[in-house]
């Protein structure tokens, strides 16, 4: 059952078009990995779903409701919460106050403070400390706790592993696996391709603001993802024949690759 449906989304920053005709389907209880090079539009897409940005065209539906023009607090009330890139904690507030801010427009009382502290014992000890005094891993845990405090059904996670030690990243992803087991729906932006493929059911690759590959993570070939990631043409390969972008509900579920509409470019990306 579809929880989130993005259709034909265009987002512009002035003259620059960050997203063009983006389509995205996330089924309830699934985890979607959103990958792509820097500047491909991943963060823009997440922020538009969360309501921080407004598209110039296209619709966003959540749980059967059109939320295209809804402000962020209404979307949170309906169950969408976001962990922004770079954590973005309120530096002058304590850990606990940061988490309580996340509960300002809570969708459900599923995540009281106690449960958040049980999930992240490392921040329970530091609840009275300023958020700015914490380590990167602790801050990331607080940022996730702040999003969970809203009692979300859909959690948007933007590069939660950025700048963290591998052991801390592994712990965070273990925690995400626990959330998934509890029925949460996730959309994860992740630079580490392997980690994204391991943690998620589905995969969507953006290239220069367009969806170039989408489908279940399990069936996807690594070199196919790499090709979509960098926009290298895969023409000539048996499984890489370009096809039109997938419709909102068209076709049987399965791997669907679409050729990049733009010529190959964006060499700034890192795999």
């Amino acid at each position: 059952m579809t929880l989130l449906e993005v259709d034909g989304l265009d987002v512009r920053y002035g003259d620059f078009q960050a997203l063009s005709g983006v389509r995205l389907h996330v089924d309830r209880g699934r985890a979607m990995a959103l990958i792509g090079a820097n500047g491909a539009g991943k963060t823009t897409l997440l922020r538009t779903i969360a309501g921080a940005l407004t598209g110039s065209a296209g619709r966003i539906r959540y749980d059967g409701t059109d939320i295209t023009g809804a402000p962020p607090h209404r979307r949170i009330r309906q169950g969408i919460a976001m962990v922004p890139e770079g954590r973005r904690l309120f530096p002058s507030l304590t850990v606990e106050e940061n988490i309580l801010i996340g509960a300002s427009a809570a969708a459900s009382p599923d995540w009281p403070l106690d449960r958040i502290y049980d999930t992240f014992p490392i921040i329970a000890r530091r609840r009275r400390h300023r958020a700015s005094a914490l380590s990167g891993g602790e801050q990331q845990a607080v940022a996730i706790g702040r999003a969970l405090a809203a009692g979300p059904s859909l959690l948007l996670l933007d590069e939660i592993s950025l700048g963290l030690a591998p052991r801390v990243i592994a712990e965070l992803y273990e925690m995400l696996a626990g959330l998934r087991a509890a029925g949460a729906t996730l959309v994860i932006v992740e630079q580490d391709l392997q980690r994204a493929l391991d943690a998620c059911d589905d995969l969507t690759c953006l290239l220069e603001g367009r969806v170039v590959l989408t489908g279940p993570a399990a069936g996807v070939q690594r070199d196919e993802v790499v090709a979509a990631y960098f926009g290298v043409s895969t023409a000539g390969r048996a499984d890489g024949v370009p096809s039109p972008a997938p419709g909102p509900s068209g076709g049987p579920p399965g791997r669907r690759a679409t050729g990049p509409a733009e010529p190959p470019g964006d060499s700034e990306g890192r795999p």
């Binding site: 969360a50 309501g51 607090h73 919460a81 922004p84 973005r88 309120f90 507030l93 940061n98 801010i101």
Partner: protein, 291 residues
């Protein structure tokens, strides 16, 4: 003992400066709004009390339960209709819009109430005094103004530190975009802060009107003193604002003891000195942050 007396009077006067400055400090700290019309809004409070007390036939103090909620509402309306739009239009727009508002208010007051100086009748409070020791006499009116300023600042501080409203205000002051993103409704937060700013200004205006006289242009002077109190105390710090106001008051009265002509000049020199030596203010570090 004259000097001690002067210092005491200066401290009391400083409470007045702090009361008018705290709204300026708060609106800057939260919304990054420099409200040039702040002093004029204070003077509007004084005129409002004058009109209300005449119309209702009650002492000035009895108009406050009517005047302060009205000022709060006007502040909210100004934020929603004017300041909020100006803040979205860039850095310069809020300065020009509030400057324009200041000019409009001053001219409307002149047209409606002439430029004659007026005073508010503070009743028995304005005439009574008490002594501390044999040499120091304190006016009950000044003492009340000072205690009121301390009370208002304390209440604000507690509200910012301990309530969920205060938490949202501080989060918004820290990072507006993220506050919106994680579910804070920014418009009511801004509107309430602007309401508090105008209500405290109106309260200060009533005290200014009872302690001395006022006319339609008094707001400009009040604004300068309020700005100096805020800058000396450190932007965004409520206790710093009180300390800044007290510093101004003490310098003004103590220098006035020597030569009245130099009293106001000395205040501005103190301000320039602080700006030159410690531009972040004597008590830098935000109360919004320390709360």
């Amino acid at each position: 003992m004259n000097w001690v007396n002067a210092a005491v009077q200066g401290i009391l006067l400083g409470g007045e400066y702090a009361l008018i400055a705290c709204g300026l400090s708060l609106t800057f700290g939260v919304m990054r709004l420099v409200n040039i019309a702040h002093g004029d809004l204070a003077v509007c409070g004084a005129y409002g009390a004058l009109v209300l007390s005449a119309a209702l036939g009650v002492p000035v103090w009895y108009t406050l339960p009517l005047l302060l909620p009205a000022a709060f509402g006007i502040g909210m309306a100004l934020q929603v209709l004017l300041f909020g739009r100006a803040l979205r239009a860039g850095i310069l727009a809020p300065v020009m819009v509030t400057f324009g508002l200041s000019v409009v208010i001053e001219n409307l007051l002149t047209a409606g109430a002439t430029s004659d100086p007026r005073g508010l009748n503070g009743g028995g409070l304005a005439l009574a005094s008490f002594g501390i020791g044999p040499h120091i006499t304190v006016s009950w009116l000044l003492a009340t103004a000072f205690l009121t300023a301390c009370l208002v600042l304390s209440l604000l501080q507690v509200a910012l530190a301990r309530t969920s409203w205060g938490r949202q205000v501080r989060a918004t002051a820290d990072d507006l975009d993220t506050a919106r993103l994680v579910g804070v409704r920014v418009m009511p937060v801004f509107a309430s802060v602007a309401g508090i700013g105008v209500a405290t200004a109106a309260l200060a205006g009533v005290f200014i009107g009872t302690i001395s006289t006022f006319d339609p242009l008094t707001g400009t002077d009040s604004l300068i003193f309020a700005f100096e109190a805020v800058v000396i105390g450190g932007l965004g710090s409520l206790w710093g604002t009180l300390a800044g106001g007290v510093s101004l008051g003490v310098v003004q009265v103590v220098v006035g003891q020597v030569n009245q002509e130099y009293a106001v000049l000395a205040v501005h020199l103190l301000f320039l000195l602080v700006l030159a030596v410690r531009p972040s203010g004597l008590f830098a570090g935000s109360a919004l942050e320390q709360a």
